[in-house]
């Protein structure tokens, strides 16, 4: 269905659901940003949703626990829960090779 050549060209669409300034939410944002920075080859469309400000969006996306990162494109939706301290899990979700 999807040739490999296209995969690299397609941008990764990520939504990060956070809850205000709570420690886990702050940590998740920080972890994601630093990972993106460390991997400039990855083209990503990132949207941060604060469910404290916009709970409806969270409900609609069926995100109940924060922080949660939802990757929707490519290859279907995948979710990762938590403050993203586990970079290995995040990298594998984003299709990046782990450095370990």
């Amino acid at each position: 269905m999807s040739p490999r050549a296209n995969v690299k060209a397609e941008a990764v669409r990520i939504r990060l659901f956070i809850a205000g300034e709570s420690p886990n939410s702050v940590a998740a944002q920080r972890n994601l940003q630093s990972l993106l920075k460390a991997n400039p080859s990855l083209s990503a469309e990132l949207e941060v949703v604060d469910v404290l400000k916009d709970p409806e969006l969270g409900l609609r996306a069926n995100v109940l626990v924060t922080p949660m990162l939802v990757k929707s494109v490519p290859r279907g939706e995948r979710r990762i829960i938590g403050n993203l301290n586990d970079t290995g899990a995040l990298m594998s979700l984003l299709g990046l090779k782990s450095e370990r």
Partner: protein
């Protein structure tokens, strides 16, 4: 109408009714309003049903919309599971119950610590939009188990509690316990401490029968019964045996009497059973307990009162046919629909399930009278206490609804139902009649004794119960030398009396006839004598007449002779001389 009992002050405790039959009575009205209740129980113990019932009752009866936060199963699945219950939210109730699916799918990747803050903000938004007053967190332990560090569970729970307190909503949190235990899974032992009310549900299988128990382990700031009470899950959801309730028994008291179906028994009971009372008929097998109970059902049906007859392990047809043989005709009443005969299986279901079934039947049939034959079938349960509790619950339930109940109890199988025990259902029953066999003269006869009858001056004499094709009657018994005579002996005794009477009557007749005869004879004799007398008188007359004629002839002859010779003086002078001599 129903309403939550609210205090006026902000911090005053008010109760959020759960709509769970019997439970609200135990906790004096309901769960602590605006506070947190934790419901603990093993898998399959009925936690979700408890929570959902309270949620539905809030929306339906108290105008308090609610939200289900489903951690364990999808909310849709929760509703599907409730399909079997009568109270399952209909369309309008469903609109009053919001759902938040909060289960973490198996495919979600764990990438570090997370918290409940996001959930709470969404819950906040939803509850404001819905004006929700109640919230159910179903399976909070499932959520907590996903936390990467067990120690974080406590943090999240206290975060939750803080938010809930601010929200003012009435909260129910369900969580699993260790199997066969009432304590939460060890990691969440702190859960009961954060709650204002703790309810534990237990599900024990004893001898192959599932028994359920509920206990209010904690109720902050309020008196409550901490006893374990059996409960059942029936068509109406959870139903709790509320006999341990701290509230008073408030049954309407009736002064009206209803017929027992046996005239003589009505007389013995000063008119019959009291309406709304409970009667227990105990006895060994074959003493006509069923017949007596059926007589009541028949009489009630004839009064045009809706009646429910619940029998165990005997089909409705069988019962109708059996009592027909002693002149109790139930079939027309059944056909008419005024009498409903239902058969339950004593084995298989637990006592509390029977209670729920009977409760539902009573409601469906709108019964005013209830017959349970035999209530001791509940004692098939391996747990005597539960059986007794269930039996008491049934009598209590009937009484509280003004339903007149007559239950039979088979003696000799379980101690709880025996005559010897002072406790048991016999203490709850208002009237207790005991049927026995009396062996006399090579015969077994049925004897009925009224052991007690509250508020009734009743005969304490034993009566013989007689079953005939024409019906049931009671017979006076002969008491001879302190022994009561029945059956043939009684009949013989009655017969002897009858014969003595007849003999006396016969004798009297004979004497009369003899006297009559004697009189007649005398009269006859009198007639004969009178005849003789007439004859003799006639003879005498004849003699006299002929003598006078003879004398006259003789005198005539003398005069003739004197006349011929010339008489020497008149005869009158000579007559004078004779008279002088004689004076």
């Amino acid at each position: 109408m129903k309403s939550s009992i609210r205090g006026r002050g902000k911090d005053a405790i008010w109760r959020a009714g759960t709509g769970i039959a019997g439970f609200d009575e135990i906790v004096a009205g309901g769960l602590p309003g605006g506070r947190v209740t934790v419901v603990l129980g093993d898998a399959g113990s009925g936690k979700t049903i408890f929570g959902m019932q309270a949620l539905v009752a809030g929306a339906r009866d108290f105008g308090e919309p609610g939200i289900l936060v489903a951690f364990e199963e999808r909310a849709q699945q929760v509703f599907t599971n409730l399909d079997g219950f009568a109270w399952k939210g209909n369309a309008s109730n469903r609109a009053q119950i919001g759902v938040i699916d909060a289960q973490l799918s198996q495919t979600v990747v764990h990438g570090g610590d997370f918290d409940i803050i996001g959930l709470l903000s969404m819950l906040d938004a939803k509850s404001k939009a819905m004006r929700a007053k109640r919230v159910l967190f179903d399976g909070l332990d499932v959520f907590l188990a996903n936390l990467p560090e067990p120690s974080h569970a406590r943090r999240e729970v206290f975060r939750l509690r803080e938010w809930l307190q601010d929200s003012g909503m009435t909260v129910i949190i369900t969580a699993k316990t260790e199997p066969n235990d009432v304590r939460p899974v060890r990691e969440y032992e702190f859960l009961p401490f954060m709650a204002d009310c703790v309810v534990t549900l237990q599900h024990r299988v004893v001898g192959g029968t599932a028994l359920r128990f509920l206990r209010v382990a904690k109720y902050r700031g309020a008196e409550h019964s901490a006893n374990e009470v059996p409960f059942s899950i029936g068509k109406d959801g959870i139903e709790v045996a509320a006999t341990n309730a701290t509230t008073d028994l408030r049954h309407a008291v009736f002064s009206e009497r209803v017929s027992t179906g046996v005239k003589r028994l009505d007389v013995m009971l000063a008119g019959g059973y009291y309406r709304g009372s409970s009667t227990l008929i105990s006895g060994v097998p074959g003493t006509a307990k069923t017949t007596l109970a059926a007589a009541f059902a028949s009489a009630a049906s004839r009064r045009r009162e809706r009646t429910l007859l619940v029998s165990f392990d005997e089909s409705p047809d069988q019962i109708v046919r059996n009592v027909a043989s002693v002149g109790i005709s139930l079939a027309p009443h059944v056909k008419e629909g005024i009498l409903k005969v239902s058969s339950l299986r004593s084995r298989g279901a637990g006592p509390e399930a029977h209670v729920a079934r009977i409760r539902a039947l009573l409601r469906e049939h709108r019964a005013k009278n209830l017959v349970i034959d035999p209530i001791s079938a509940l004692a098939q349960s391996p747990d005597d206490n539960v059986a007794e509790e269930a039996a008491i619950q049934i009598l209590d339930m009937a009484k509280s609804q003004g339903i007149t109940s007559v239950s039979t109890s088979l003696m000799g199988n379980k101690a709880a139902f025996s005559e010897e025990t002072p406790i048991g259902i016999s203490t709850v029953a208002d009237t207790w009649m005991h049927l026995t066999y009396v062996n006399q003269g090579g015969e077994r006869n049925r004897a009925l004794t009224i052991i007690k009858s509250r508020g009734t001056g009743h005969s304490s004499q034993v009566r013989e119960l007689i079953l005939a094709a024409t019906g049931v009657t009671l017979a006076d018994v002969y008491s001879v030398g302190g022994e009561v005579l029945m059956g043939t002996l009684r009949w013989q005794r009655e017969d002897e009396g009858r014969r003595a009477h007849e003999r006396a009557a016969r004798d009297a007749g004979l004497h009369e006839r003899e006297a009559e005869l004697a009189l007649a004879e005398t009269e006859a004799r009198a007639r004969v004598i009178a005849g003789e007398r007439a004859v003799r008188e006639a003879t005498l007359d004849r003699i006299r007449v002929s003598r006078r004629e003879e004398l006259e002839q003789a005198a005539a002859k003398v005069r003739e002779l004197r006349g011929r010779r010339g008489a020497d003086g008149p005869p009158s002078e000579r007559a004078k001389k004779v008279r002088r001599r004689s004076s």
